[in-house]
């Protein structure tokens, strides 16, 4: 009986799958559940709500809430963190803060560029101003930091976009730029600095990724120099790949394989000792554009600068098929086993049936607003945002 009551109490959480960080829990865009290709604005449980400010951060989902950030004001100096009920889009709470770091950005991006991260109990939001906030799911502040307040030269004149990750009890905040470049490990409990690691000086818009699980987690830090794989507890290098990498699309983890946007695309396999790696393959025809590679089963998918979607085998890099999408694209695709979903900058969502021999566009949805974010997926619906709106798109 006790177990039954507990199950009932937990029921709302079981109805919606979590999507806890940029490109999902695994950070690779793969959708673990079913998702209809016919999601759209007119679905039975679809909704759209107005947002109070700009943003290209992606939504995340924890429990029965969808979280998103925004920035508003003449200098984008007001930072918004918001939670909405998944079912109807009703605002559960909103917290507003003021930016303590620089808010100057290129017109295309904005201060609310990085995507939030959650461990299912707390949410962490980072902004281009390098303000970092940790709140519980009810919107109560746990702690905050101002990393440009701490280090006034930690900024990028074009804006910053690296999304934080949570590894165990550590928040990894990447603050990499031309002037004062570093990544910090912050205590999830109180925000204090556990470690601060000097990083290559150079603008860097990629996001870290977590590999492994439990006490064996490692974090990938990508930069123009390549990849540094660190221990999140102390920031120390575990191994390095030093053949250069992109500073826009991020690496994607597929099991023990790491797909690095480097010299096209380079596949690395971490060795069992966790201190070294092997290069499996490299293909300069698989270089992604702005979005990062996406995983579905044994296949990887990249959209290049010419908006060509390529399907290749993760294990060998063998290209299986290619097709042209309608661009231009800034967001990364997300994919179930059957379909890939991607939005172009003009707000056109394209659904591609990812067959074994070819890809075929089978559905589309036109949101009519600029979309730069990567969708979140939960409970059979896609969550997408623009500068003005947040949508739940369902069948």
């Amino acid at each position: 009986m006790k177990a039954l009551i507990l199950s009932i109490l937990l029921l709302p959480f079981s109805l919606f799958g979590n999507w806890l960080s940029f490109r999902g829990d695994a950070g690779n865009g793969s959708i673990p559940d079913k998702l209809s290709p016919n999601v759209g604005t007119t679905g039975k449980t679809s909704w759209r709500i107005d947002l109070p400010g700009r943003g290209l951060s992606s939504p995340i989902v924890a429990g029965n809430l969808v979280f998103v950030t925004a920035s508003s004001g003449p200098k984008e100096e007001t930072l918004h963190i918001m939670a909405f009920e998944i079912k109807k889009g009703k605002k559960a709470w909103e917290r507003k803060f003021k930016a303590t770091g620089r808010t100057v950005c290129h017109e295309k991006t904005c201060v609310a560029a990085p995507t939030m991260a959650s461990d299912g109990k707390l949410v962490v939001a980072q902004f281009s101003s390098n303000d970092v906030f940790c709140l519980n799911l009810k919107g109560n502040l746990k702690w905050l930091r101002g990393l440009t307040y701490d280090y006034p030269n930690a900024a990028n004149g074009l804006g910053m976009s690296s999304s934080p990750v949570i590894a165990g009890e550590v928040v990894i905040a990447q603050v990499e730029n031309d002037a004062e470049s570093f990544t910090a490990g912050l205590s999830l409990a109180n925000g204090s600095t556990l470690w601060k690691k000097e990083r290559p000086r150079g603008a860097n818009w990629t996001s870290p990724a977590v590999i492994g699980n439990g006490g064996k987690q490692q974090v990938l830090l990508q930069s123009m120099k390549g990849l540094a794989v660190i221990d999140p507890k102390n920031g120390k290098d575990q191994w390095k790949y030093e053949e250069g990498a992109s500073t826009i699309p991020s690496s994607t983890v597929a099991g023990h394989t790491i797909l690095v946007p480097s010299n096209g695309l380079t596949a690395l396999k971490a060795r069992a000792d966790g201190r070294s790696h092997t290069q499996i393959w490299r293909d300069n025809k698989l270089g992604p554009g702005t979005g990062s590679p996406t995983i579905s089963g044994d296949m990887l998918y990249v959209v290049n600068k010419a908006n060509v979607l390529t399907c290749a085998k993760i294990e060998t890099g063998e290209i299986i098929w290619r097709m042209r999408l309608k661009g231009p694209m800034s967001s990364s695709p997300v994919a179930t086993r059957e379909h890939l979903f991607v939005f172009n900058e003009e707000g056109l969502g394209q659904v591609v049936e990812i067959g074994p021999e070819e890809g075929k566009t089978v559905a589309s949805v036109d949101l009519g607003e600029t979309i730069l974010c990567t969708p979140a997926v939960s409970g059979g619906a896609l969550f997408v945002r623009s500068d003005k709106s947040l949508w739940r798109l369902s069948e």
Binding site: G73, P74, E77, W93, R95, K96, F97, K98, T100, V104, C105, H106, D131, G139, N140, L141, K142, W143, L144, R145, G146, Y149, D150, P152, N153, A155, N156, G157, L158, N177, D178, A179, L186, A189, N190, G191, S192, T193, A203
Partner: protein, 372 residues
């Protein structure tokens, strides 16, 4: 002056008296106002943060008062505290005290802006009626709202004379670049010549020396002779030849000093620009520099800020706002501006603009003839 609660006031507001002991409230406020950079004070603040749960809306004036003492980080902690309290107070809050706090310009601009936002979210009609009063406010974000209303009226006016008068008032009262630009553009369309350089306090008259070597971006950190002494008659070894100081001025409305005009479109070089500013008093000031190149700024021999970044976006007016001070009399201002090795068309600019304002954004003007 700290505003204190009386039981009568609380009852009139329908608020219950504080459930929290004054000592706990003090401990919380102390922790939040002790927050400092690099995570100092975070652990202590987290430890006492649960006291927020026991506070109700009657604590808001005290928290606003605490914001006066807090730095920007503490400000955000207190902002969160007030937000959490308001979210469970069902729009009840001590309106008169919040209004009184807003009206007292002795309070910090940030805390007064928050007081206004509390009113705007909970009493929008009242908040709206207050906006015209902000036209001379010391807090730029409040002043901006009142200037914004003038602009709205000017845009909507079919009477060109009335619209021009409103735009003129924007020029007089406005402190924000975009608002000044809009009014200036509108007036210039009607034939009025606006001297933006003077209005906004740009420094147009300089002495420059260069080019010095910046190969491999190494010159940024290299202290060439102008960083050791300012001798306008001296000559030094430059990147290629001997270099000496020469006069250089700009007529650009926004004070942009295009260094390429002085030395040609050369790469991997740097130059120094020097000027003086005759201040009528000892005063705090903001040095507002814009540059897409790497730069350093010294005032009276003290390095105020340095930025080692090239061509990440365009040069913008007020791109960097740096707090500093002017002494009464002549002040020496030295800018080092660097050009890197990139060859793309969008990397050819070698430029900066600089203006000086008081903390409210009001332009300061030199008493001497060059940079008035």
């Amino acid at each position: 002056m700290k505003i204190t609660q009386t039981p009568l006031v609380l009852l009139a507001l329908g608020l219950t008296p504080l459930c929290i002991l004054p000592a706990q409230e003090k401990e919380l406020i102390d922790a939040l106002t002790r927050i400092d950079s690099k995570g100092k004070g975070n652990a202590e603040a987290v430890q006492v943060w649960s006291a927020i749960e026991k506070l109700n809306a009657s604590s808001i004036p005290g928290l606003l008062q605490a914001m006066n003492k807090a730095n920007d980080l503490g400000d955000n902690w207190i902002r969160a505290a007030i937000s959490e309290i308001l979210s469970r107070s069902e729009k009840r809050f001590p309106q008169k005290q919040v209004l009184s706090f807003l009206e007292n310009q002795e309070n910090s601009g940030s805390s007064r802006k928050l007081a206004f936002e509390i009113l705007r979210e909970n009493k929008p009609a009242l908040a709206s009626s207050l906006v015209p009063n902000f036209i001379d406010d010391r807090e730029p974000t409040l002043r901006r709202l009142a200037v914004g209303e003038l602009l709205t009226s000017a845009r909507g006016s079919k009477d060109t004379t009335k619209a021009a008068a409103l735009f003129e008032k924007v020029l007089q009262k406005g402190r924000e670049v975009d608002q000044i630009k809009e009014a200036s553009n509108a007036l210039e369309k009607g034939g009025r010549k606006v001297d933006l350089q003077s209005l906004m306090g740009f420094l147009p008259e300089w002495k420059t020396i260069g080019p010095f070597d910046n190969t491999g971006r190494q010159g940024f950190g290299k202290p060439y002779p102008p960083e050791q002494e300012i001798d306008l008659d001296a000559g030094y070894q430059g990147k290629n030849d001997k270099v000496k100081w020469s006069a250089f001025s700009t007529s650009d409305p926004f004070g942009m000093l295009d260094v390429n005009k002085q030395y040609g479109e050369v790469k991997e070089v740097l130059a120094y620009a020097y000027t003086t500013f005759d201040s009528d008093s000892d005063q705090v000031a903001q040095f507002r520099i814009g540059s897409k190149n790497a730069w350093k700024l010294w005032v009276n021999g003290k390095l105020l800020f340095a930025r080692d970044e090239y061509h990440r976006g365009k040069t913008r007016v007020d791109q960097f706002v740096i707090d500093g001070a002017l002494k009464k009399g002549s002040n020496e201002i030295l800018v080092k501006v660097c050009q890197n090795e990139q060859t793309q068309s969008w990397t050819k600019q070698w430029e900066f603009c600089l203006r000086i304002t008081d903390p409210t954004g009001t332009a300061l003007h030199s008493r001497d003839t060059s940079n008035k």
